[in-house]
Symmetry: C2
Subunit: 325 residues, 2 copies
Protein backbone atom coordinates (compact mmCIF):
# COMPACT_ATOMS: atom_id res chain seq x y z
CA UNK A 1 0.00 0.00 0.00
CA UNK A 2 1.36 3.37 -1.01
CA UNK A 3 0.88 6.70 0.70
CA UNK A 4 -1.35 9.14 -1.18
CA UNK A 5 -3.71 6.50 -2.57
CA UNK A 6 -7.45 6.94 -2.07
CA UNK A 7 -8.27 5.43 1.34
CA UNK A 8 -9.58 1.90 1.19
CA UNK A 9 -12.68 0.83 3.05
CA UNK A 10 -12.11 0.39 6.78
CA UNK A 11 -12.22 -3.38 6.42
CA UNK A 12 -9.35 -3.39 3.97
CA UNK A 13 -7.06 -1.29 6.19
CA UNK A 14 -4.28 -2.96 8.08
CA UNK A 15 -4.91 -3.44 11.79
CA UNK A 16 -2.56 -1.83 14.27
CA UNK A 17 -2.91 -3.35 17.72
CA UNK A 18 -1.62 -1.20 20.57
CA UNK A 19 -0.70 -2.83 23.88
CA UNK A 20 -0.86 -0.15 26.55
CA UNK A 21 -2.97 1.37 29.27
CA UNK A 22 -2.81 4.83 27.67
CA UNK A 23 -3.11 5.59 23.97
CA UNK A 24 0.11 6.90 22.42
CA UNK A 25 0.12 10.48 21.13
CA UNK A 26 0.71 11.30 17.46
CA UNK A 27 -1.20 8.32 16.00
CA UNK A 28 -3.71 10.80 14.58
CA UNK A 29 -1.22 11.20 11.76
CA UNK A 30 -2.21 7.71 10.58
CA UNK A 31 -5.94 8.45 10.45
CA UNK A 32 -7.64 6.80 7.48
CA UNK A 33 -4.65 4.59 6.74
CA UNK A 34 -4.86 2.08 9.58
CA UNK A 35 -7.45 0.60 11.89
CA UNK A 36 -6.23 1.03 15.45
CA UNK A 37 -7.29 -1.37 18.21
CA UNK A 38 -6.21 -1.41 21.84
CA UNK A 39 -5.31 -4.44 23.92
CA UNK A 40 -4.35 -5.09 27.50
CA UNK A 41 -2.75 -8.12 29.09
CA UNK A 42 -6.09 -9.94 29.38
CA UNK A 43 -7.27 -9.37 25.79
CA UNK A 44 -3.96 -9.55 23.92
CA UNK A 45 -4.01 -13.29 23.14
CA UNK A 46 -7.47 -13.07 21.58
CA UNK A 47 -6.62 -9.98 19.53
CA UNK A 48 -3.24 -11.05 18.17
CA UNK A 49 -4.59 -13.15 15.25
CA UNK A 50 -6.32 -10.16 13.66
CA UNK A 51 -3.40 -7.74 14.02
CA UNK A 52 -1.03 -6.86 11.18
CA UNK A 53 1.19 -4.76 13.39
CA UNK A 54 1.64 -4.82 17.18
CA UNK A 55 2.87 -1.69 18.95
CA UNK A 56 4.09 -2.54 22.46
CA UNK A 57 3.50 0.85 24.04
CA UNK A 58 3.37 -0.45 27.60
CA UNK A 59 7.06 -1.18 27.78
CA UNK A 60 6.83 -2.60 31.31
CA UNK A 61 4.36 -5.30 30.29
CA UNK A 62 5.42 -8.90 29.78
CA UNK A 63 2.05 -9.75 28.19
CA UNK A 64 3.54 -10.48 24.74
CA UNK A 65 5.72 -13.24 26.15
CA UNK A 66 2.70 -15.15 27.45
CA UNK A 67 0.23 -14.25 24.70
CA UNK A 68 2.42 -14.94 21.68
CA UNK A 69 2.40 -18.76 21.76
CA UNK A 70 -1.03 -19.80 20.46
CA UNK A 71 -3.12 -20.55 17.41
CA UNK A 72 -3.86 -18.42 14.41
CA UNK A 73 -1.96 -15.79 12.47
CA UNK A 74 0.45 -13.46 14.17
CA UNK A 75 1.38 -9.83 13.41
CA UNK A 76 4.03 -9.52 10.74
CA UNK A 77 5.72 -6.71 12.64
CA UNK A 78 6.10 -5.99 16.35
CA UNK A 79 7.52 -2.64 17.49
CA UNK A 80 8.37 -1.90 21.10
CA UNK A 81 8.62 1.67 22.39
CA UNK A 82 11.70 0.75 24.40
CA UNK A 83 15.36 0.01 23.82
CA UNK A 84 15.26 -3.42 25.48
CA UNK A 85 13.25 -6.26 23.96
CA UNK A 86 13.61 -8.79 26.77
CA UNK A 87 10.03 -8.22 27.93
CA UNK A 88 8.53 -9.50 24.69
CA UNK A 89 11.04 -11.78 22.99
CA UNK A 90 9.56 -15.23 23.67
CA UNK A 91 11.20 -18.27 22.04
CA UNK A 92 8.16 -18.57 19.76
CA UNK A 93 8.43 -14.95 18.63
CA UNK A 94 12.16 -15.39 18.11
CA UNK A 95 11.55 -18.47 15.95
CA UNK A 96 8.78 -16.82 13.89
CA UNK A 97 9.02 -14.74 10.70
CA UNK A 98 7.73 -11.67 12.51
CA UNK A 99 10.00 -8.66 12.36
CA UNK A 100 10.76 -7.04 15.74
CA UNK A 101 11.93 -3.43 15.96
CA UNK A 102 12.81 -1.20 18.90
CA UNK A 103 13.06 2.48 19.84
CA UNK A 104 16.78 2.63 19.15
CA UNK A 105 18.04 6.22 19.29
CA UNK A 106 15.40 7.84 21.48
CA UNK A 107 17.03 7.19 24.83
CA UNK A 108 20.72 7.52 23.96
CA UNK A 109 21.47 11.12 24.86
CA UNK A 110 19.04 11.41 27.82
CA UNK A 111 20.51 8.29 29.43
CA UNK A 112 24.06 9.46 28.74
CA UNK A 113 23.28 12.72 30.54
CA UNK A 114 21.71 10.82 33.41
CA UNK A 115 24.76 8.58 33.82
CA UNK A 116 27.09 11.59 33.67
CA UNK A 117 24.97 13.20 36.38
CA UNK A 118 25.20 10.11 38.58
CA UNK A 119 28.97 9.83 38.07
CA UNK A 120 29.57 13.48 38.95
CA UNK A 121 27.12 13.36 41.87
CA UNK A 122 28.94 10.36 43.34
CA UNK A 123 32.40 11.84 42.69
CA UNK A 124 31.40 15.09 44.39
CA UNK A 125 29.32 13.35 47.11
CA UNK A 126 26.26 15.44 46.33
CA UNK A 127 24.02 12.94 48.18
CA UNK A 128 26.10 13.46 51.32
CA UNK A 129 26.00 17.23 50.88
CA UNK A 130 22.23 17.30 50.63
CA UNK A 131 21.85 14.95 53.60
CA UNK A 132 24.00 17.39 55.62
CA UNK A 133 21.92 20.30 54.29
CA UNK A 134 18.85 18.65 55.82
CA UNK A 135 20.63 18.81 59.18
CA UNK A 136 21.82 22.43 58.66
CA UNK A 137 25.33 21.04 58.98
CA UNK A 138 28.34 22.72 57.32
CA UNK A 139 30.93 19.98 56.83
CA UNK A 140 33.63 20.58 54.25
CA UNK A 141 34.95 17.46 52.53
CA UNK A 142 37.42 16.80 49.75
CA UNK A 143 35.89 15.24 46.68
CA UNK A 144 37.05 13.27 43.68
CA UNK A 145 38.12 14.55 40.29
CA UNK A 146 36.70 12.64 37.35
CA UNK A 147 39.16 13.92 34.74
CA UNK A 148 41.67 11.16 33.96
CA UNK A 149 39.46 8.55 35.69
CA UNK A 150 38.80 5.31 33.81
CA UNK A 151 35.37 3.98 32.94
CA UNK A 152 34.20 0.70 31.48
CA UNK A 153 30.82 0.76 29.75
CA UNK A 154 29.31 -2.69 29.23
CA UNK A 155 26.92 -2.70 26.29
CA UNK A 156 27.96 -1.46 22.86
CA UNK A 157 24.58 -0.36 21.55
CA UNK A 158 23.82 3.29 20.88
CA UNK A 159 23.06 3.92 24.56
CA UNK A 160 26.42 2.53 25.67
CA UNK A 161 28.23 4.46 22.95
CA UNK A 162 26.45 7.71 23.90
CA UNK A 163 27.41 7.18 27.54
CA UNK A 164 31.01 6.63 26.50
CA UNK A 165 31.08 9.81 24.38
CA UNK A 166 29.68 11.84 27.26
CA UNK A 167 32.09 10.44 29.84
CA UNK A 168 34.99 11.05 27.44
CA UNK A 169 33.80 14.66 27.10
CA UNK A 170 34.26 14.96 30.87
CA UNK A 171 37.86 13.77 30.51
CA UNK A 172 37.17 10.18 31.60
CA UNK A 173 39.06 7.56 29.61
CA UNK A 174 36.29 5.16 28.63
CA UNK A 175 36.30 1.67 27.14
CA UNK A 176 33.14 0.13 25.68
CA UNK A 177 32.71 -3.64 25.87
CA UNK A 178 30.36 -5.59 23.60
CA UNK A 179 29.81 -9.25 22.84
CA UNK A 180 32.14 -9.16 19.86
CA UNK A 181 34.95 -6.68 19.26
CA UNK A 182 34.70 -4.10 16.49
CA UNK A 183 36.44 -0.79 15.91
CA UNK A 184 35.92 1.26 19.07
CA UNK A 185 34.41 -1.67 20.96
CA UNK A 186 36.32 -4.23 23.02
CA UNK A 187 35.17 -7.83 23.11
CA UNK A 188 33.92 -9.79 26.10
CA UNK A 189 37.38 -11.37 26.50
CA UNK A 190 38.76 -7.99 27.57
CA UNK A 191 36.10 -7.42 30.20
CA UNK A 192 38.04 -8.63 33.26
CA UNK A 193 41.12 -6.40 32.95
CA UNK A 194 39.02 -3.38 31.96
CA UNK A 195 36.74 -3.79 34.97
CA UNK A 196 39.71 -4.26 37.28
CA UNK A 197 41.19 -0.96 36.07
CA UNK A 198 37.97 1.07 36.07
CA UNK A 199 36.89 3.78 38.50
CA UNK A 200 33.40 3.62 37.00
CA UNK A 201 31.62 0.52 35.68
CA UNK A 202 28.46 1.30 33.72
CA UNK A 203 25.97 -1.38 32.73
CA UNK A 204 24.10 -0.54 29.51
CA UNK A 205 23.80 -4.12 28.31
CA UNK A 206 20.72 -5.78 26.83
CA UNK A 207 19.11 -8.49 28.95
CA UNK A 208 19.73 -11.80 27.19
CA UNK A 209 20.49 -15.34 28.27
CA UNK A 210 24.17 -14.39 28.03
CA UNK A 211 23.91 -11.31 30.24
CA UNK A 212 21.33 -12.28 32.86
CA UNK A 213 22.97 -12.15 36.30
CA UNK A 214 26.38 -11.20 34.86
CA UNK A 215 26.92 -8.61 37.62
CA UNK A 216 27.39 -11.01 40.52
CA UNK A 217 29.70 -11.45 43.50
CA UNK A 218 32.54 -12.60 41.27
CA UNK A 219 32.15 -9.52 39.07
CA UNK A 220 31.99 -7.05 41.98
CA UNK A 221 35.03 -8.82 43.45
CA UNK A 222 36.96 -7.84 40.31
CA UNK A 223 36.25 -4.15 40.83
CA UNK A 224 38.52 -1.76 42.70
CA UNK A 225 37.44 -0.85 46.25
CA UNK A 226 37.32 2.79 45.16
CA UNK A 227 35.19 2.05 42.10
CA UNK A 228 31.46 2.54 41.62
CA UNK A 229 28.85 0.66 39.61
CA UNK A 230 25.88 2.07 37.68
CA UNK A 231 23.09 0.03 36.05
CA UNK A 232 20.72 1.72 33.62
CA UNK A 233 20.23 -1.44 31.52
CA UNK A 234 17.82 -3.98 32.93
CA UNK A 235 17.38 -5.10 36.53
CA UNK A 236 18.03 -8.83 36.09
CA UNK A 237 21.53 -8.12 34.77
CA UNK A 238 22.45 -7.66 38.44
CA UNK A 239 22.33 -10.25 41.21
CA UNK A 240 20.92 -7.74 43.66
CA UNK A 241 21.84 -9.69 46.79
CA UNK A 242 25.45 -9.83 45.59
CA UNK A 243 25.52 -6.08 45.01
CA UNK A 244 24.19 -5.47 48.53
CA UNK A 245 26.91 -7.73 49.91
CA UNK A 246 29.60 -5.98 47.85
CA UNK A 247 28.50 -2.61 49.20
CA UNK A 248 28.12 -3.77 52.78
CA UNK A 249 31.57 -5.40 52.74
CA UNK A 250 32.99 -2.37 50.91
CA UNK A 251 34.28 -4.38 47.99
CA UNK A 252 33.20 -1.35 45.99
CA UNK A 253 32.69 2.29 46.98
CA UNK A 254 29.17 2.88 45.72
CA UNK A 255 26.48 2.07 43.19
CA UNK A 256 23.43 3.53 41.50
CA UNK A 257 20.57 1.42 40.16
CA UNK A 258 17.84 2.79 37.89
CA UNK A 259 16.43 -0.67 37.08
CA UNK A 260 15.52 -3.63 39.28
CA UNK A 261 14.62 -7.29 39.27
CA UNK A 262 11.14 -6.25 40.40
CA UNK A 263 9.65 -2.91 39.35
CA UNK A 264 8.33 -0.88 41.03
CA UNK A 265 10.86 -1.75 43.71
CA UNK A 266 8.76 -2.98 46.69
CA UNK A 267 8.73 -0.64 49.70
CA UNK A 268 10.20 -3.43 51.82
CA UNK A 269 13.22 -4.07 49.58
CA UNK A 270 16.58 -3.85 51.40
CA UNK A 271 17.95 -1.96 48.39
CA UNK A 272 16.30 1.30 49.50
CA UNK A 273 18.50 1.44 52.60
CA UNK A 274 21.72 -0.20 51.43
CA UNK A 275 24.61 2.14 52.32
CA UNK A 276 26.23 3.69 49.26
CA UNK A 277 23.40 2.65 46.94
CA UNK A 278 21.42 5.27 45.01
CA UNK A 279 17.98 4.13 43.86
CA UNK A 280 15.99 5.79 41.06
CA UNK A 281 12.66 4.63 39.56
CA UNK A 282 13.57 3.48 36.00
CA UNK A 283 13.59 7.00 34.60
CA UNK A 284 17.11 7.54 33.26
CA UNK A 285 15.93 8.00 29.67
CA UNK A 286 12.61 9.66 30.30
CA UNK A 287 13.06 13.33 29.57
CA UNK A 288 10.16 15.71 29.00
CA UNK A 289 8.60 14.85 25.64
CA UNK A 290 9.89 11.26 25.56
CA UNK A 291 6.45 9.80 24.79
CA UNK A 292 6.08 12.21 21.87
CA UNK A 293 9.51 11.21 20.60
CA UNK A 294 8.67 7.51 20.85
CA UNK A 295 5.34 7.97 19.07
CA UNK A 296 6.84 10.13 16.32
CA UNK A 297 9.48 7.47 15.74
CA UNK A 298 6.81 4.78 15.43
CA UNK A 299 4.69 6.82 12.99
CA UNK A 300 7.74 7.35 10.77
CA UNK A 301 8.52 3.64 10.88
CA UNK A 302 4.89 2.79 10.14
CA UNK A 303 5.00 4.97 7.05
CA UNK A 304 8.04 3.07 5.82
CA UNK A 305 6.33 -0.24 6.45
CA UNK A 306 3.20 0.99 4.68
CA UNK A 307 5.34 1.98 1.69
CA UNK A 308 7.04 -1.40 1.61
CA UNK A 309 10.40 0.11 2.54
CA UNK A 310 12.88 -1.70 4.80
CA UNK A 311 12.42 -0.99 8.51
CA UNK A 312 15.22 0.46 10.64
CA UNK A 313 16.03 -0.79 14.15
CA UNK A 314 15.38 -4.46 13.33
CA UNK A 315 16.23 -6.65 16.32
CA UNK A 316 18.46 -9.68 15.86
CA UNK A 317 16.07 -12.06 17.60
CA UNK A 318 18.78 -14.63 18.26
CA UNK A 319 20.91 -12.07 20.08
CA UNK A 320 18.15 -10.02 21.60
CA UNK A 321 19.26 -6.59 20.38
CA UNK A 322 19.82 -4.55 17.22
CA UNK A 323 23.25 -5.38 15.79
CA UNK A 324 25.81 -2.88 14.53
CA UNK A 325 27.05 0.53 15.48
CA UNK B 1 69.73 34.35 45.40
CA UNK B 2 70.23 31.43 43.02
CA UNK B 3 69.37 27.78 43.57
CA UNK B 4 72.35 25.49 44.14
CA UNK B 5 74.41 28.08 46.01
CA UNK B 6 75.91 27.18 49.36
CA UNK B 7 73.24 28.07 51.96
CA UNK B 8 73.77 31.40 53.61
CA UNK B 9 73.56 31.86 57.35
CA UNK B 10 70.04 31.68 58.68
CA UNK B 11 69.98 35.42 59.30
CA UNK B 12 70.66 36.20 55.65
CA UNK B 13 67.85 34.03 54.34
CA UNK B 14 64.62 35.64 53.15
CA UNK B 15 61.72 35.30 55.56
CA UNK B 16 58.58 33.54 54.37
CA UNK B 17 55.65 34.31 56.62
CA UNK B 18 52.79 31.80 56.45
CA UNK B 19 49.32 32.84 57.58
CA UNK B 20 47.42 29.70 58.45
CA UNK B 21 46.32 27.43 61.25
CA UNK B 22 47.98 24.40 59.66
CA UNK B 23 51.40 24.34 57.98
CA UNK B 24 51.23 23.77 54.23
CA UNK B 25 52.72 20.53 52.86
CA UNK B 26 55.67 20.53 50.46
CA UNK B 27 57.54 23.49 51.99
CA UNK B 28 60.29 21.06 52.98
CA UNK B 29 61.50 21.51 49.42
CA UNK B 30 62.62 25.02 50.40
CA UNK B 31 64.69 23.88 53.39
CA UNK B 32 67.92 25.86 53.76
CA UNK B 33 66.79 28.51 51.30
CA UNK B 34 64.22 30.35 53.34
CA UNK B 35 63.38 31.05 56.95
CA UNK B 36 59.75 30.08 57.52
CA UNK B 37 57.66 31.74 60.21
CA UNK B 38 54.02 31.20 61.04
CA UNK B 39 51.43 33.84 61.88
CA UNK B 40 47.83 33.91 62.91
CA UNK B 41 45.33 36.75 62.92
CA UNK B 42 46.56 38.03 66.28
CA UNK B 43 50.30 38.06 65.44
CA UNK B 44 50.20 38.99 61.76
CA UNK B 45 50.49 42.78 62.20
CA UNK B 46 53.59 42.44 64.39
CA UNK B 47 55.25 39.95 62.02
CA UNK B 48 54.59 41.68 58.70
CA UNK B 49 57.55 44.12 58.89
CA UNK B 50 60.10 41.31 59.02
CA UNK B 51 58.59 39.24 56.18
CA UNK B 52 59.91 39.23 52.64
CA UNK B 53 57.12 37.02 51.36
CA UNK B 54 53.65 36.39 52.78
CA UNK B 55 51.86 33.14 51.94
CA UNK B 56 48.16 33.43 52.75
CA UNK B 57 47.47 29.76 53.32
CA UNK B 58 44.33 30.30 55.40
CA UNK B 59 42.23 31.41 52.47
CA UNK B 60 39.18 32.07 54.65
CA UNK B 61 41.03 34.61 56.82
CA UNK B 62 40.53 38.34 56.38
CA UNK B 63 43.49 39.07 58.68
CA UNK B 64 45.61 40.65 55.92
CA UNK B 65 42.99 43.33 55.29
CA UNK B 66 43.20 44.55 58.89
CA UNK B 67 46.92 43.92 59.50
CA UNK B 68 48.34 45.47 56.32
CA UNK B 69 47.85 49.17 57.16
CA UNK B 70 50.59 49.99 59.68
CA UNK B 71 54.15 51.04 60.16
CA UNK B 72 57.33 49.48 58.96
CA UNK B 73 58.32 47.55 55.86
CA UNK B 74 55.89 45.24 54.14
CA UNK B 75 56.46 41.95 52.24
CA UNK B 76 57.45 42.50 48.63
CA UNK B 77 55.28 39.59 47.52
CA UNK B 78 51.97 38.21 48.81
CA UNK B 79 50.67 34.92 47.45
CA UNK B 80 47.21 33.59 48.30
CA UNK B 81 46.38 29.90 47.98
CA UNK B 82 42.99 30.76 46.48
CA UNK B 83 41.55 32.03 43.23
CA UNK B 84 39.79 35.01 44.80
CA UNK B 85 41.79 37.84 46.37
CA UNK B 86 38.91 39.79 47.90
CA UNK B 87 39.82 38.61 51.42
CA UNK B 88 43.21 40.31 51.41
CA UNK B 89 43.13 43.16 48.92
CA UNK B 90 42.94 46.20 51.22
CA UNK B 91 43.20 49.68 49.67
CA UNK B 92 46.65 50.04 51.25
CA UNK B 93 47.86 46.76 49.73
CA UNK B 94 46.37 47.75 46.39
CA UNK B 95 48.20 51.09 46.49
CA UNK B 96 51.54 49.55 47.54
CA UNK B 97 54.36 48.20 45.38
CA UNK B 98 53.82 44.69 46.73
CA UNK B 99 53.12 42.06 44.10
CA UNK B 100 50.04 39.92 44.76
CA UNK B 101 49.65 36.51 43.11
CA UNK B 102 46.93 33.89 43.30
CA UNK B 103 46.39 30.15 42.79
CA UNK B 104 45.09 30.56 39.24
CA UNK B 105 44.74 27.20 37.50
CA UNK B 106 44.41 24.89 40.49
CA UNK B 107 40.64 25.03 40.84
CA UNK B 108 39.53 25.34 37.20
CA UNK B 109 38.80 21.74 36.27
CA UNK B 110 37.52 20.60 39.70
CA UNK B 111 35.05 23.49 39.86
CA UNK B 112 33.97 22.91 36.26
CA UNK B 113 33.20 19.28 37.13
CA UNK B 114 31.33 20.37 40.24
CA UNK B 115 29.17 22.82 38.29
CA UNK B 116 28.46 20.20 35.62
CA UNK B 117 27.40 17.83 38.40
CA UNK B 118 25.06 20.43 39.89
CA UNK B 119 23.55 21.24 36.49
CA UNK B 120 22.91 17.58 35.67
CA UNK B 121 21.66 16.82 39.19
CA UNK B 122 19.13 19.66 38.97
CA UNK B 123 18.09 18.77 35.40
CA UNK B 124 17.51 15.14 36.41
CA UNK B 125 16.05 16.05 39.84
CA UNK B 126 18.51 13.82 41.66
CA UNK B 127 17.79 15.62 44.97
CA UNK B 128 14.11 14.71 44.60
CA UNK B 129 14.98 11.13 43.71
CA UNK B 130 17.11 10.69 46.81
CA UNK B 131 14.51 12.32 49.02
CA UNK B 132 11.97 9.81 47.68
CA UNK B 133 14.49 6.99 48.23
CA UNK B 134 14.57 7.93 51.91
CA UNK B 135 10.81 7.30 51.99
CA UNK B 136 11.06 4.03 50.00
CA UNK B 137 8.85 5.71 47.44
CA UNK B 138 8.94 4.76 43.73
CA UNK B 139 7.72 7.82 41.83
CA UNK B 140 8.62 8.06 38.15
CA UNK B 141 9.06 11.62 36.83
CA UNK B 142 10.07 13.09 33.51
CA UNK B 143 13.29 15.05 33.63
CA UNK B 144 15.04 17.69 31.61
CA UNK B 145 17.56 17.25 28.81
CA UNK B 146 20.56 19.54 29.00
CA UNK B 147 21.67 19.11 25.38
CA UNK B 148 20.73 22.23 23.41
CA UNK B 149 20.09 24.17 26.64
CA UNK B 150 21.66 27.62 26.94
CA UNK B 151 24.00 28.69 29.72
CA UNK B 152 25.47 32.04 30.67
CA UNK B 153 28.68 31.95 32.71
CA UNK B 154 29.50 35.23 34.44
CA UNK B 155 33.21 35.52 35.06
CA UNK B 156 35.76 35.14 32.28
CA UNK B 157 38.73 33.94 34.31
CA UNK B 158 40.11 30.43 33.91
CA UNK B 159 37.41 29.01 36.20
CA UNK B 160 34.59 30.52 34.15
CA UNK B 161 36.22 29.40 30.91
CA UNK B 162 36.67 25.84 32.23
CA UNK B 163 33.03 25.74 33.28
CA UNK B 164 32.01 26.90 29.81
CA UNK B 165 34.15 24.24 28.11
CA UNK B 166 32.64 21.52 30.29
CA UNK B 167 29.04 22.64 29.74
CA UNK B 168 29.70 22.87 25.99
CA UNK B 169 31.00 19.29 26.12
CA UNK B 170 27.58 18.30 27.48
CA UNK B 171 25.93 19.93 24.48
CA UNK B 172 24.95 23.14 26.31
CA UNK B 173 25.38 26.31 24.25
CA UNK B 174 27.36 28.52 26.61
CA UNK B 175 28.23 32.21 26.60
CA UNK B 176 30.91 33.64 28.89
CA UNK B 177 30.53 37.22 30.11
CA UNK B 178 33.46 39.27 31.42
CA UNK B 179 33.97 42.91 32.29
CA UNK B 180 35.32 43.72 28.84
CA UNK B 181 34.68 41.75 25.64
CA UNK B 182 37.47 39.78 24.01
CA UNK B 183 37.44 36.86 21.57
CA UNK B 184 35.25 34.17 23.12
CA UNK B 185 34.08 36.48 25.92
CA UNK B 186 31.05 38.77 25.78
CA UNK B 187 31.13 42.13 27.54
CA UNK B 188 29.00 43.30 30.42
CA UNK B 189 26.72 45.16 27.99
CA UNK B 190 25.48 41.82 26.64
CA UNK B 191 24.65 40.42 30.07
CA UNK B 192 20.91 41.20 30.12
CA UNK B 193 19.86 39.47 26.91
CA UNK B 194 22.13 36.49 27.61
CA UNK B 195 20.69 36.02 31.10
CA UNK B 196 17.14 36.36 29.78
CA UNK B 197 17.80 33.56 27.26
CA UNK B 198 19.66 31.21 29.60
CA UNK B 199 18.46 27.95 31.15
CA UNK B 200 21.50 28.03 33.44
CA UNK B 201 23.19 31.08 34.93
CA UNK B 202 26.54 30.37 36.54
CA UNK B 203 28.37 32.87 38.72
CA UNK B 204 32.15 32.47 38.59
CA UNK B 205 32.94 36.16 38.99
CA UNK B 206 35.58 37.69 41.25
CA UNK B 207 34.31 39.72 44.19
CA UNK B 208 35.11 43.37 43.50
CA UNK B 209 33.38 46.69 44.07
CA UNK B 210 31.84 46.25 40.64
CA UNK B 211 30.41 42.78 41.28
CA UNK B 212 29.39 42.89 44.95
CA UNK B 213 25.62 42.28 45.15
CA UNK B 214 25.22 42.05 41.37
CA UNK B 215 22.87 39.05 41.71
CA UNK B 216 19.89 40.84 43.19
CA UNK B 217 16.11 40.95 42.75
CA UNK B 218 16.44 42.85 39.48
CA UNK B 219 18.87 40.23 38.13
CA UNK B 220 16.74 37.25 39.18
CA UNK B 221 13.75 39.02 37.65
CA UNK B 222 15.54 38.92 34.29
CA UNK B 223 15.90 35.14 34.41
CA UNK B 224 13.41 32.71 32.89
CA UNK B 225 11.03 31.00 35.35
CA UNK B 226 12.44 27.66 34.19
CA UNK B 227 16.06 28.73 34.68
CA UNK B 228 18.42 27.91 37.53
CA UNK B 229 21.25 29.84 39.18
CA UNK B 230 24.57 28.51 40.49
CA UNK B 231 27.16 30.49 42.49
CA UNK B 232 30.62 29.07 43.00
CA UNK B 233 32.32 32.50 43.05
CA UNK B 234 32.03 34.41 46.30
CA UNK B 235 29.05 34.73 48.63
CA UNK B 236 28.69 38.53 48.61
CA UNK B 237 28.12 38.50 44.84
CA UNK B 238 24.57 37.42 45.74
CA UNK B 239 21.98 39.39 47.70
CA UNK B 240 20.87 36.31 49.58
CA UNK B 241 17.49 37.69 50.70
CA UNK B 242 16.69 38.48 47.05
CA UNK B 243 17.56 34.94 45.96
CA UNK B 244 15.32 33.48 48.68
CA UNK B 245 12.49 35.72 47.47
CA UNK B 246 13.07 34.76 43.82
CA UNK B 247 12.87 31.07 44.75
CA UNK B 248 9.87 31.44 47.04
CA UNK B 249 7.97 33.42 44.40
CA UNK B 250 9.15 31.01 41.69
CA UNK B 251 10.75 33.70 39.59
CA UNK B 252 13.36 31.02 38.93
CA UNK B 253 13.20 27.23 39.11
CA UNK B 254 16.13 26.50 41.39
CA UNK B 255 19.56 27.48 42.63
CA UNK B 256 22.73 26.05 44.12
CA UNK B 257 25.08 28.03 46.34
CA UNK B 258 28.56 26.85 47.31
CA UNK B 259 29.59 30.21 48.82
CA UNK B 260 27.84 32.53 51.24
CA UNK B 261 27.88 35.98 52.74
CA UNK B 262 28.80 34.35 56.06
CA UNK B 263 30.85 31.14 56.13
CA UNK B 264 30.31 28.66 57.68
CA UNK B 265 26.63 29.28 56.97
CA UNK B 266 25.04 29.63 60.44
CA UNK B 267 22.74 26.75 61.47
CA UNK B 268 19.85 29.21 61.78
CA UNK B 269 20.17 30.64 58.26
CA UNK B 270 16.93 30.45 56.23
CA UNK B 271 19.01 29.38 53.21
CA UNK B 272 19.27 25.80 54.51
CA UNK B 273 15.53 25.28 54.10
CA UNK B 274 14.70 27.50 51.12
CA UNK B 275 12.74 25.37 48.62
CA UNK B 276 14.70 24.66 45.46
CA UNK B 277 18.00 25.80 46.95
CA UNK B 278 20.95 23.42 47.19
CA UNK B 279 23.56 24.35 49.80
CA UNK B 280 27.14 23.08 49.81
CA UNK B 281 29.98 24.13 52.15
CA UNK B 282 32.43 26.04 49.90
CA UNK B 283 34.01 22.91 48.51
CA UNK B 284 33.43 23.05 44.74
CA UNK B 285 37.13 23.17 43.93
CA UNK B 286 38.47 21.05 46.73
CA UNK B 287 39.29 17.68 45.27
CA UNK B 288 41.51 15.14 46.99
CA UNK B 289 45.07 16.44 46.88
CA UNK B 290 44.10 20.09 46.46
CA UNK B 291 46.32 21.27 49.33
CA UNK B 292 49.27 19.45 47.78
CA UNK B 293 48.51 21.09 44.43
CA UNK B 294 48.32 24.53 46.02
CA UNK B 295 51.57 24.02 47.93
CA UNK B 296 53.40 22.64 44.89
CA UNK B 297 52.28 25.66 42.89
CA UNK B 298 53.60 28.01 45.58
CA UNK B 299 56.96 26.24 45.82
CA UNK B 300 57.40 26.54 42.06
CA UNK B 301 56.50 30.22 42.19
CA UNK B 302 58.87 30.75 45.12
CA UNK B 303 61.71 29.24 43.11
CA UNK B 304 61.03 31.71 40.30
CA UNK B 305 60.98 34.61 42.75
CA UNK B 306 64.19 33.37 44.32
CA UNK B 307 65.78 33.24 40.85
CA UNK B 308 64.61 36.75 40.05
CA UNK B 309 62.28 35.51 37.31
CA UNK B 310 58.89 37.12 36.63
CA UNK B 311 56.05 35.66 38.65
CA UNK B 312 52.96 34.17 36.97
CA UNK B 313 49.39 34.81 38.21
CA UNK B 314 50.02 38.45 39.11
CA UNK B 315 46.80 40.09 40.26
CA UNK B 316 45.72 43.40 38.76
CA UNK B 317 45.19 45.11 42.11
CA UNK B 318 42.94 47.78 40.62
CA UNK B 319 40.58 45.20 39.15
CA UNK B 320 40.88 42.55 41.81
CA UNK B 321 41.77 39.60 39.59
CA UNK B 322 44.41 38.32 37.20
CA UNK B 323 43.81 39.80 33.76
CA UNK B 324 43.85 37.96 30.45
CA UNK B 325 42.74 34.60 29.13
Amino acid sequence: MQKGFIPMSEAALPTLLVLGAEPPPRLGGLTGRVRIQFADATTLAAQLPSADVLLVWDFASHAVRSAWPGDGPRPRWVHTASAGVDHLLSPELAASDTVVTNARGIFDQPIAEYVAGLVLAMAKDLPGTWRLQGHHEWRHRETQRVARNHACVIGAGPIGLAIARTLEALGITTAVVGRTPRPGVRGADDLGPLVAAADWVISAAPLTDATRGMFDARFFGLMRPSARFVNIGRGPLVVEADLVEALEKRWIAGAALDVFEEEPLPPGSPLWDTPGLLVSPHMSGDTIGWRDDLATQFVEMYERWEAGEPLPNVVDKERGYVRGA
